[in-house]
């Protein structure tokens, strides 16, 4: 197991390197000019050229790349072209909100969706099943911002229970933190629950049809024991996979939710940086993201072996 972990960790290094080179090339080949954005709309070409030269953006691409790599090897991700904040600080500021949002969403989704999926599979074809499925379809089809707006309107304005927007760090107390994070998490969870519930239902249904389950039932095991003891256990692998995929999705794909609730998270930082062509920030984020993906997937793979001892590495 330890050997596996080390092997995987080492394997991650070239992956991250390749992603970084790819992203660097892609970004710099695409038009878009941070100097022009800095200079402002009414600046002249000369102003822009001067700023570009100052930023070192007029140097050959390879030179820029190696400068960045050398910096990186010294543990320095560089500074934002715009705010001049160190990239590590920018990412650090955004980490807690995004992690809060992701983990809360995950908890809400799993706690609600897995049981729903199992029950739907158990009562396949019944009204419960149809209800879960209808909810799932709804969850996929409604854009996140609609759910967000409705929740804001209901819970923040009409009922006046929760704040509209913003983020309170956990350090300022659990309840203020929760008050800010609950609506965005619920918004994100809607789409995500839909996916988990459906996958759980499909996987459980599949396992329920296996011969050994039918044997178990034939031997007179109670339905609940069959569901919990055998079916869910075997369905767990695809479910865990999807949850793993979802974590990755959540880290990168929360931009809309973060915008709607004005949460200063990584998704928003990424899109802002892309739209501004803030190269050091984008590169830093990609580096952190690819590390996170590798880590999440490693955990998922480890869970496989725990959940299903037949899987070996």
């Amino acid at each position: 197991m330890l050997a596996f972990l080390i092997r995987r960790a080492l394997a991650a290094v070239p992956v991250i390197a390749v992603v970084t080179v790819f992203v660097f090339a892609l970004l710099h080949l695409a038009p878009g000019d941070p100097a022009a954005i800095i200079a402002g709309d009414l600046a002249t070409a000369e102003d822009i050229a001067n700023i570009r030269a100052k930023l070192g953006l007029d140097r050959p691409l390879l030179v820029q790349f190696f400068t960045w790599v050398v910096q990186l090897l010294h543990g320095d991700l560089g500074k934002s072209i715009f705010s001049a904040h160190p990239v590590t600080q920018l990412i650090g500021q955004r980490l807690e909100p995004t992690l809060s949002l992701t983990l809360t969403t995950l908890v809400i989704s799993i706690v609600i969706a897995v049981p729903l999926g199992v029950v739907a599979a158990w009562r396949a074809g019944s009204w419960i099943d149809r209800g879960v499925m209808g909810f799932a379809v709804f969850g996929f089809s409604v854009p996140g911002f609609v759910i967000g707006y409705v929740l804001i309107w209901l819970f923040a304005i009409e009922l006046d229970w929760l704040p509209v927007q913003g983020y309170t760090p956990l350090a300022k107390g659990f309840l203020p933190w929760l008050a800010n994070i609950i609506l965005p998490s619920a918004t994100l969870a809607c789409a995500y629950m839909a996916l988990i519930a459906r996958i759980t239902r499909a996987a459980t249904l599949e396992t329920l049809s296996q011969d050994y389950i039918r044997t178990a039932q034939a031997k007179g095991l109670a339905t609940r024991d069959v569901l919990m003891g055998h079916a869910l256990r075997n369905a767990a692998v695809p479910i865990v996979t999807v949850i793993g995929i979802g974590v990755a999705l959540l880290i990168g794909g929360v931009v809309v939710t973060e915008s709607v609730f004005a949460i200063p998270g990584l998704g928003r930082l990424t899109v802002d940086a892309i739209l501004r062509r803030d190269y050091p920030v984008i590169q830093g984020i990609i580096l952190v993201f690819s590390g996170a993906y590798v880590l999440v997937n490693l955990i998922v793979d480890l869970l496989y072996t725990v959940l299903d001892p037949r899987i070996r590495y």
């Binding site: 878009g32 402002g40 009414l42 006046d160 929760l162 509209v164 927007q165 928003r268």
Partner: protein
Amino acid sequence: MDIIQRRRFAVVRAACAFAALLAVSAAAHAQSVLRLVPQSDLKILDTVQTTNNITSNHGYMIYDTLFALDSKFVPKPQMVDTYAKSADGLTWSFKLRPGLKFHDGQPVTSKDVVASVLRFAKRIPAGVTMMQFTKEIVATGPDTFEIRLAKPFGLVLETLAGPENPLFITREADATGDPNTAITTAVGSGPFIFVRDEWVPGSKVVYRRNPDYKPRADAPDGFAGGKLAKVDRVEWLVIPDANTAVQALIKGEVDIIEIPQTDLLPLIRKDPNISVKVIDRVGTQAIYRMNHLIPPFNNAKARQALLYATGDQKDYLASMIGYGEYERPCWAVFVCGTPFETQAGVGDWAKGDKRANIEKAKQLLKEAGYKGEKVVILDPVEAHLAHAQAVVTAQKLREIGMAVDLQAIDWGTQSARRQIKDPPDKNPGAWNIFHTWGGGLAMNSPLSNTPTPSACDGKNWFGWPCDEELEKIRLEFPLAAPDKQKEIVERLQKRFYEVVPYIPAGQFLTPIAYRKSLSGILDTPRLVLWNIEKK
């Protein structure tokens, strides 16, 4: 304790047993906090390096200016105590007010001022023009300095008091050096102090009251007069979603939205606790610019055809604003509602007879020899205003029989691509039309209006119009006595509509929305936060 906190706490208290604990933390918040949703994120701190409005708004918070416009747009001394002009009008001498101090505790000296003026004059158009008339700017004592002109220049005070990209006074240590190397400090002598530790780029900017600020004794009047910070703390909260910003205002989580999206005003107006008010009575002018170097708009007739094609500004204004009382169709190049508003040179396209306009445009296109070339219109879709303009222009050009290629891109791509001069066969990024807008206070003078200069050196603003005659008239302006300026502007505008360097697409006002717990908001063309009190 403000209303939101009180409400939020009330809920929490009802819901749980931690009330006592929270009450303690609430007591620490007894200071007054003004929360503002700014027009965009504060990306850059240096007010000389960028011409973006949000950065000069930041400048108004922390820096002070030598002169400032009052509510009648007359320059009044601000940091300057007394000033005098020599008999020949060539030497201007100034003395600073006593007691001016930077946030680091150091006094403001004439050396700081001279360095700031020189840096400003290397970059901001009004300053660049003034330098063309200036021999030298020198510190003559610890608190006195002189501007020595080489030839007469009538706009010295106007330049020092320019409101759109103002001349802010920074420390000499920050201001020396290249104007293109960004100042990343934020130490001014203004009424608020930038709290760097709490700055979260993209999300939050925090200022606190400057307890050492010595305001002028006279009452605030426009940007002039005493600048007294009346709240302890200001927070700019970037809320990227327009709808959420409005809900936050209704809930009382924020106090002001600088530019609420006009389509959401019906929601705001329903709330009796919120006021909607226009403080900038000049407004903003939308324009679009053609590439004068490549066909079809390298031909003046084709550009005139555009005047007829898009002669009805109502469609632009409706799509951008959609709120009649804030829309102002206007063909005055130097902006309506200012002394330089004139109808000179405005043709029959402005009458808005759609059928006649289309006919005339088609005829002009034929005379221009338009051969059906694709017209590339840049459409920065995430920019609400520019996107609206681009979609309208596309339709109008189709109506007169032009082949339109409306290219959906982002603002960053537009900023880069509009620098491309080449035709499409040399560069796939070639463009014909892009859209933008300018604040009325920058567009209203031949000196500060960026898109008008038309010298044929190809160094003028993107689109590169070339007409030496237009440029000659424009350069008469700074030399002229004030009573001759209007006449020059009329001749300038007449020539403008013959050669058409760009096309005005309508003028509009942007109201602010604020909770009625605020009072003392000044009628300045840009929202400034001194003098505002919060109940």
